[in-house]
Subunit: 159 residues, 2 copies
């Protein structure tokens, strides 16, 4: 295996978007991705980038990626949030995901973030067991809440 891990460039965003869509399909939400390549280019490579991406490359092909950004914990301070980590179906089970995961955690440690957070589907036991084996903690009593654009529009009309 000859895998190169590196920070993504603007020209990688097409490959990154394909990976985002592959992950959404795995998560049974294939239609949820409204983001475009242009959005990723604008939002990740402007004067104030909203996220950072590491990609895994094999023979010039991008076979995996990890996308993350900063958050702020009122308990701990600056923290890093790993939004997506995905390896192409045909390249799984050879350690690429683990290398990307380690790269993000090493980056968080070097940058002195006080916490790294992410979210996992409760039926993805393989992932959960892996995370726990590396020292992460599953917060069983917290629920994620979302208000989407449409509900937000409805809310501001009513209140």
């Amino acid at each position: 295996m000859n895998i190169l891990l590196r920070e993504a460039k603007k020209s990688d965003m097409n490959a990154v978007l394909l990976l985002i869509k592959e992950l959404a399909t795995f998560e049974k939400e294939a239609d949820a991705v409204e983001l475009t390549e242009k959005d990723l280019e604008r939002d990740g490579f402007g004067a104030q980038p909203f996220f950072k991406v590491f990609v895994a490359e094999e023979n010039k092909e991008i076979i995996g990626m990890a996308l993350f950004y900063e958050r702020y914990s009122t308990w701990k301070g600056r923290s890093l949030h790993l939004e997506d980590l995905i390896v192409k179906q045909e390249h799984r089970n050879k350690g690429v995901g683990k290398e990307l995961y380690a790269k993000v955690l090493h980056y968080a440690h070097e940058q002195k973030f006080r916490r790294v957070s992410w979210e996992v589907l409760d039926w993805n036991q393989v992932a959960i067991d892996f995370y726990v084996s590396t020292g992460a903690r599953i917060l069983d009593s917290w629920k994620v809440v979302h208000m989407d654009e449409r509900s937000l529009g409805g809310f501001v009309e009513r209140y």
Copy 2:
């Protein structure tokens, strides 16, 4: 009731920290707050602020606050995350929390965020019912995962 809602200033961070600690106590994690007033002043009011706060004021006293920051959804794009919303015990049940909540959502709508997210404790049914009544969705199948600084330090030594 004569409540003023406004954006927080650097000099409000002492009051904001007391509210963060009150919320952590309510969440049965009183000792989890490692953040100091100095941290909040530095992180919220530097060249690149890591969060924004709205406070609720009554007779010059800060009686509630909402702290939030940007995230990035690979499905929707720029999103807003409401990290903390808290009203002082003795000022609850008079609508201050709902006003702060509405202010954050109006702000998110004006700024064209594509999603607002937050987290809720699964035993806080009053809060859950309120959120759902306003159009928010509880994501039952997602779990929050944290790796704290100590585990992160252990991880980078091993991998």
